[in-house]
């Protein structure tokens, strides 16, 4: 275990003197992985797909969304009868540069309109929660091996990154550091404890190696931190980082257009800035990057009594990055339509793309995982769900 870990972790800051203890030269990164970066953005709360990417050409859209509908002229133009929320000009620019695309009708593996079950389904990558307890991105890291660094930000590692593969758990340090001797003694003392022993041993090793210090401003956002963590890697190294973005549970005031208190508008503007922050922070590495943004479910087609939308079924996915294969119009997926007969339970957009298709497509074409590994291990019991082609250059 230790050997694997050190091999995977060869690439870090060469600044800390304690790093001398570790080998700086690990096995060469396989050519197909060289410099590859991936960022998973979880839009927590159930992002309003139709507030972000409005199906303005659908004849039922305006009637269902009523006072919260956008007109064609209010949105930023996209293909396929869609209009992009006007608060997302930066992402729109990326779409026009063929480095971002949207997929409509995207659904989680498991949807019962519960946030908590839905998020667990997304994070575990299974449609039956009993299948796995660890996260699909962690299982992908197990398959990818030591060459790809997995990174979680904050003191609570999301399920998606939890599991057998060791990941770097970065959290901004604010309390003064502990001396290495004390840290090592804590490791020895807690080693017999199966619960606390492993995480303590891991964080102490990372801390002593200087991996838990990062040169970012105090007020850096998680997205800026994510970019910095990937950027500091050796240029030839591959890395995967996950970032959470909250605030998407818009049961009320889900107005999409700019204005005071308009929650969907605020969320879109923030997402726009966050994606741009990744691009800015990654610099030249952006060319080798795929960002995937997903949410646990979409929201109802029709507005509720509080100018908002309750929990629905299908939402959207956003892919961005220099390695993304953009397309004219910038929208993929088969939009199922909003006619009464097309809505699930008479109220929700139907899922036409299982988000595992997207994950599989990116893992296969960007990071080189085989279809067999994807079907059997990373996403168990998913052989009927084919990877989406042509997502990555």
């Amino acid at each position: 275990m230790k050997t694997i870990k050190l091999n995977r972790r060869q690439t870090l800051l060469g600044l800390s003197s304690s790093l001398v203890a570790y080998s700086l030269t690990g096995p060469a990164v396989a050519a197909h992985l060289a410099g590859k970066k991936m960022v998973l953005v979880f839009l927590r709360g159930g992002a309003d797909g139709m507030g972000v990417l409005a199906p303005i050409a659908d004849p039922y859209y305006a009637g269902l969304r009523r006072q919260l509908a956008m007109t064609s002229s209010q949105t930023l133009s996209m293909g396929g009868g869609f209009g992009l929320n006007p608060n997302m000009p930066l992402v729109h620019q990326m779409v026009q540069n063929n480095e971002a695309l949207f997929i409509s009708g995207v659904g989680a593996p498991f949807i019962n309109r519960s946030h908590f079950d839905g998020q667990e389904g997304v994070e575990r990558g299974v449609s039956n929660l009993a299948d796995r307890r660890d996260g699909w991105l962690n299982r992908a890291l197990v398959q990818l091996g030591a060459e790809v660094e997995g990174i979680a930000i904050g003191t609570r590692v999301p399920t998606t990154l939890s599991g057998a593969a060791e990941i770097l758990n970065y959290a901004p340090a604010r309390l003064p550091p502990v001396d290495p001797d004390t840290m090592n003694r804590v490791v020895s003392m807690t080693a017999p404890d199966t619960l606390m022993g492993p995480p303590i041993a891991q964080i102490v090793a990372d801390t002593i190696a200087g991996r838990t210090t990062l040169n970012v401003p105090n007020n850096a956002t998680d997205f800026e931190i994510a970019a910095a963590l990937l950027k500091r890697q050796d240029p030839q190294s591959a890395g995967i980082v996950m970032v959470d973005m909250e605030g998407w549970d818009t049961h009320d005031n889900a107005w999409p257009l700019p204005g005071a208190g308009n929650r969907v508008a605020q969320q879109c503007a923030a997402l726009d800035n966050n994606i741009q922050a990744l691009k800015t922070g990654l610099g030249t590495d952006w060319a080798n990057t795929v960002v995937i943004a997903i949410s646990e479910f979409g929201r109802n087609a029709a507005v509720n009594g509080s100018d908002g939308f309750d929990h629905g079924i299908a939402g959207f996915a956003l892919l961005a990055g220099g390695a993304v294969k953009g397309l004219a119009g910038g929208v993929r997926g088969n939009f199922a339509g909003l006619a009464p007969g097309q809505l699930v339970d008479g109220q929700d957009l139907a899922v036409t793309t299982d988000m595992r298709e997207i994950f599989k497509g990116v893992l296969r074409d960007h990071l080189g995982l085989t279809l067999a590994d994807l079907n059997n291990f990373v996403f168990p019991n998913s052989s009927t769900i084919a990877p989406m082609d042509n997502l990555v250059l």
Partner: protein
């Protein structure tokens, strides 16, 4: 649309508040709706996406107010001070139309110098306070407090009538337990069901561990209530609430409520609860100060409490009915814990459930206070009622996600809940008591509701329909299973033993949900006393348990300006805020949720700081006082071989024995 129903006219609000009010003209209804939309609403917990795992919530995904910090779960530090378009999370410009800062005598100050932002202040403070090793303590090093023997009552029965006070605590060194007198059951009672040992508490609990817990249950869990603010007071302190719904009539009440808060704080100070002004000063909006005060008060009570089992149970229920302190709920969460959880702690679950569901904090948090049924007098015939509270009520508070309800049940529950709202200040002229639960028939979806295959008749525009539904929900077998399971997961094990679960469920059913009986069943069952200590202390309980043994000054010492600051950033770094979960699901009870690498490092760093402050405490004695003889040889060896006292104490605080329950 029910044409037989009369519709109230907005300008005739007094009648509108009665059952048979006339209908409003469409124009007026529209005006009213628009007023609600344009920021005319209580901000619910925006930026409150159910949050599982992940980093500290902050950054541009949590849009912050323009000119003062929000108090989201990150405790008020906003990394991104600018909201797009200059609006706030509640959709309100941050100047109140009705309650202008310049009209408030408290805020008359020179406008010329711009206050540094909270972020800037904290960065400043951090630089100033970055402690040197060997931080000085106020009381000469060791945090023992001498006892006032006459004020101490071992069985606790008399303490009921009095405020807890530092002087009540028997911290005498002479009472240090001799290992021989400490029983394994005593250790488990104090750690698994309590908050960690006060000095001497192990001996007390070892006499009869089960009786020690049961005695606590006989004490009134509401004994702190009278010294605190009511929900209504809290609402009036709440700036967001007043910005949103205030009018000139409420300014006096707002100021009166703030004055009362100040008196409460002064009283707390004279009664021994430390001042926290140095940190409070950083938070310059009233509901944030109130929240901060509430959580420190709560942690302080946990630190000195002689009824730690009641404190743990209170925390369990507050987490079961989790509310995030954000926007309008910020000032309310403390009142919610007192008015709902403490008050109904040992009573029937049905009463607890009704109190929780209809409490203003819950109604506001889950968007129900402005939910209007489609066919309600003020409904528009198209938009249906808000489902948020109805869904979480069944998924989280009662049945559990696999408890057998359907999407139709969720929709019906939303309709049944429509109209259950909160009195607003602008309704004062119409005889409404603001800040209290209020049933608003003009919001309520009329008709009978069918939930879980049972039909509930309309209560002629009264709240009776929902009360009947809640009473049935509280007694549903899925609810009993879900709640008992959660209780075991909280106190005893991540994998509830079936026999214990069954014993608690039987006690519940036999006693119609009397929680006292359920607690007794848990205490009486042998599986609750497994010597394998499965559970990890949550971060807040971990800190509190250290302070119970080492003295409250450890975290409440205001002479040392760094102490409250440490606690404050500790909450952030450990990702655990008292009285403010990240989602309606509450904090996880799973061990693995807390045992993450970065979180473990934060504990170690904190332990290392604390260890420098208690140089004369023998780490082995500390461990013995905390967990008796339940110490592994590995731990004893490592602690004994420590290079110095500070390292030894760091090891003791980080030992598995101290961190587990």
């Amino acid at each position: 649309m029910n044409d037989q129903r009369k519709r109230p006219v907005f300008s005739d609000l007094p009648e509108a508040l009665t059952k048979s009010a006339p209908n409003p003209a469409p124009d007026d209804r529209q005006k009213q709706r628009e007023s609600r939309m344009r920021g005319g609403r209580l901000g619910p917990a925006q930026g409150t996406g159910p949050h599982r795992g992940g980093p500290q919530p902050s950054g541009p995904d949590r849009v912050a107010p323009v000119d003062r910090p929000t108090l989201p779960s990150n405790g008020g530090i906003t990394r991104n001070g600018d909201a797009p378009y200059g609006y706030t999370r509640t959709g309100l410009k941050r100047q109140s139309v009705y309650f202008r800062p310049e009209a408030d005598p408290r805020s008359r100050k020179p406008k010329t110098s711009r206050r540094p932002t909270l972020q800037q202040r904290l960065v400043q403070l951090e630089q100033q306070l970055r402690p040197a090793p060997g931080l000085k303590t106020t009381s000469g090093g060791e945090y023992y407090l001498r006892t006032n023997e006459t004020g101490t009552n071992k069985s606790g029965s008399d303490t009921n009538a009095r405020r807890p006070d530092i002087a009540d605590i028997d911290l005498s060194l002479d009472d240090r337990p001799r290992a021989a007198a400490v029983s394994t059951e005593g250790v488990i009672a104090v750690n698994r069901f309590g908050l960690g040992a006060l000095p001497g508490e192990l001996l007390e609990a070892s006499v009869d561990a089960k009786q020690w817990l049961k005695d606590q249950l006989q004490q009134s869990p509401t004994r702190y209530t009278n010294d605190f603010l009511t929900t209504s007071d809290a609402l009036f302190i709440n700036d967001v609430f007043n910005d949103t719904y205030g009018d000139s009539l409420t300014v006096d009440r707002h100021l009166a409520a703030i004055a009362r808060m100040d008196r409460m704080r002064a009283k707390a100070h004279t009664s021994g609860i430390p001042r926290i002004d140095d940190v409070m000063e950083l938070i310059d909006w009233p509901e944030g100060r109130l929240w901060f005060h509430e959580i420190r008060m709560r942690d302080y009570l946990g630190t000195i409490s002689r009824t730690p089992f009641l404190e743990r149970l209170t925390r369990f229920w507050t987490n079961h009915f989790a509310i995030e302190a954000a926007d309008a709920t910020t000032g309310l969460v403390g009142a919610f814990e007192r008015d709902v959880c403490r008050r109904h702690l040992t009573g029937k679950f049905s009463n607890l459930l009704i109190a929780s569901t209809l409490h203003p904090a819950m109604l506001v948090y889950l968007d129900n206070e402005a939910s209007i049924g489609k066919d309600a007098p003020w409904g528009d015939g198209i938009n249906t009622s808000n489902e948020n509270l109805g869904r979480e009520l069944m998924e989280l508070h009662t049945l559990g996600v696999n408890g057998g309800y359907t999407q139709d049940d969720v929709a019906e529950m939303g309709d049944a809940l429509s109209g259950h709202s909160v009195g607003m200040p602008w309704e004062i002229p119409y005889g409404v008591e603001p800040g209290r639960y209020r049933f608003k028939p003009y919001f309520h979806q009329p008709g009978s509701r069918t939930i879980l295959n049972k039909t509930y008749a309309e209560d002629n525009d009264g709240p009776g329909q929902m009360i009947a539904i809640l009473n049935d929900l509280a007694r549903h077998p899925s609810t009993i299973d879900h709640v008992c399971r959660k209780m075991i997961e909280h106190f005893i094990s991540d994998t509830p033993p079936p026999a214990l679960l069954q014993a608690m469920k039987t006690a519940w059913a036999d006693n119609d949900g009397l929680l006292l009986a359920v607690y007794h069943a848990m205490i009486d069952h042998p599986l609750s006393w497994d010597i394998n200590r499965d559970k990890l202390k949550s971060p807040v309980d971990y800190i509190v348990s250290a302070a119970r043994r080492l003295g409250p000054d450890l975290i409440f010492d205001t002479a040392d300006a760094a102490a409250p600051y440490y606690l404050y950033i500790l909450w952030q770094d450990m990702g655990h805020f008292p009285l403010s979960a990240f989602s309606p699901e509450g904090w996880s009870d799973e061990n693995l949720y807390w045992a993450k690498p970065a979180a473990m490092m934060t504990r170690m760093q904190w332990a290392h700081q604390i260890a420098a402050r208690v140089p004369s405490v023998d780490p082995l004695i500390f461990l013995q006082d905390s967990v008796g003889n339940l110490l592994s040889t590995t731990t004893i060896t490592e602690v004994s071989n420590a290079a110095d006292a500070r390292q030894g104490m760091t090891l003791a605080l980080m030992s598995p024995e101290f961190q587990r329950r």
